[in-house]
């Protein structure tokens, strides 16, 4: 059984690409055969995050236009067996592909025997979004706990439902536990109250993600990383396991914190 999952958000910069890369790697670590498809034609960067930029010969548009076979364009990952990337074209734009062509492409990828096909959707609700969701079986919406990102996620969920992708699941990315505790950031309940969809996972804000992204090595493989742990949990949930949400216990108090507490009394 292969499944096409589109990873989308509406707003840019909330972590779609990072999430795609981490979930792809995570699923591959679990022994699944995974294809990552970068649908952000003209602004590709999933290849950079994966550290596979220098291996691109053919891209998605080449496949769609018939300039190469699908197998030729799929880049095998350097670390994980069973993980492949279909990069986007950089010198074209979103109009180079139609939703029908994307649908066909997804069918072809399913025939290749992939267990999961993850589509990294571009920001926005225009042609690129329509292309990315065309062949999807289910959708994962990524948001950050910010009012603007949640608004856009709401809009996207409405559009997904209008296109027959019902019950999308939600990943809340870049949660700052310290800010939530102080009541200065939306918490998970605030987000789910507005969006009214099931939570697939919560990823804490973590600097290991930035470091890993710049190195081209997704953080999901880093045992020390809290965000990596969160992504590993999400991977297991995608595979159908029932994993409870991470609890965010307090970071150990520093000497300065104790001192401040003393004076506050």
């Amino acid at each position: 059984m292969s499944e096409v999952i589109v990873i989308t958000s509406g707003k840019g910069g909330v972590g779609k690409t990072t999430t795609s890369a981490n979930l792809g790697c995570g699923l591959a670590i679990q022994g699944k055969k995974v294809a990552l498809v970068d649908a952000d034609i003209g602004l590709r960067n999933l290849d950079v995050v994966m550290g596979l930029e220098n291996r691109i010969v053919y891209d998605l548009v080449d496949v769609v236009e018939g300039n190469c076979r699908l197998k030729q364009a799929l880049i095998k990952d350097k670390r994980y067996e069973g993980l492949f990337l279909l990069p986007a074209a950089q010198t074209r734009d979103k109009d180079a592909v139609s939703p029908e062509q994307m649908q066909k492409l997804c069918e072809n990828l399913k025939e290749e025997g992939f267990d999961y096909i993850l589509i990294d959707c571009p920001a926005g609700i225009e042609q690129g979004f329509k292309n990315a969701i065309a062949g999807a079986d289910r959708a994962v919406v990524v948001t950050t706990p910010e009012v603007s990102a949640v608004r856009d996620a709401d809009r996207i969920i409405g559009l997904l439902e209008a296109n027959g992708l019902n019950n999308p699941t939600l990943i809340v990315n870049r949660l700052r536990i310290d800010l939530v505790k102080r009541g200065e950031m939306m918490n998970i309940e605030d987000v789910t109250e507005i969006l009214a969809v099931d939570i697939l996972g919560v990823v804490p804000d973590d600097e290991t993600i930035v470091i890993a992204t710049n190195k081209g090595e997704p953080a999901v493989s880093n045992e020390e990383s809290r965000a990596g742990q969160a992504y590993r949990n999400i991977v297991r949930r995608i595979m159908g396991e029932d994993v409870p949400l991470m609890t965010f216990e307090e970071e150990p108090e520093t000497f300065m914190d104790k001192l401040k507490k003393l004076f506050r009394r």
């Binding site: 608004r151 856009d152 709401d154 809009r155 409405g158 507005i194 009214a196």
Partner: protein, 210 residues
């Protein structure tokens, strides 16, 4: 300024009224109308309004001439013209239509998300939430069995009797007929009873339903 005012512009609730002195030669009226319109200049730019001629009755040709003067000198978009003779008829037609529209109701099951919109000639009932960025526009009443956080416009064709009610009222903006209000920020937090918004003395009031 010893010249007498033969032409007077008046703004009313349903448009612009032009009052003409009855016993002045038509040519005189025309020149003064020209002057007035010219002076008003940008004031009428792109204004969409109805126009009423009052004070004396004109022949069709005269009416045309007056309209031409206005049309040539401004970008005012005149939706319809009322004159002394057929004014009554138009108003009664309007009223009847509004009452009819009031009797129809659209029921929407499920929430309205950001970017979704209901527009209906009648009343609207939403069984679900109306999220920020969503819009409801109804010629009649609006009832939300859930949280109203988007924009609601009841009586959008001018019915000030229309009301808006919601289980939890925290809209971005509330409109009834041609009255627009920003919902106070301090009323958007914490638990509160269902509320009811209506128009009184040209203002929107919000009251708890108990």
């Amino acid at each position: 300024m010893n010249q007498e005012n033969y032409v007077i512009f008046k703004g009313t609730k349903d448009g612009v009224t032009v009052l003409f002195q009855p016993d002045v030669p038509f040519e005189e009226l025309c020149t003064q109308l020209e002057q007035k319109v010219e002076e008003a200049g940008k004031f009428f730019d792109n204004v969409k309004t109805s126009l009423a001629f009052k004070g004396r009755s004109f022949t069709e040709e005269e009416e045309e001439k007056l309209l031409q003067i206005i049309a040539e000198r401004t970008t005012m978009r005149i939706t319809f013209v009322k004159t002394e003779n057929n004014e009554l008829k138009q108003i009664s037609e309007l009223l009847e239509k509004d009452i009819r529209a009031f009797n129809l109701t659209k029921f929407h099951r499920g929430s309205l998300r950001n970017g979704q919109k209901i527009e209906f000639d009648g009343s609207v009932v939403v069984v679900g939430d109306v999220n920020p960025g969503a819009e409801i526009k109804a010629t009649g009443n609006i009832i939300v069995l859930g949280q109203l956080k988007g924009m609601a416009h009841a009586g959008c064709k001018g019915m000030t009797d229309a009301f808006v009610t919601a289980v939890y009222m925290a809209p971005v903006q509330l409109r009834i007929a041609d009255i627009i209000t920003r919902f106070p920020e301090e009323n958007k937090h914490g638990p509160k009873p269902p509320e009811y918004a209506f128009v009184k003395d040209g203002q929107i009031f919000v009251m708890a339903l108990s």
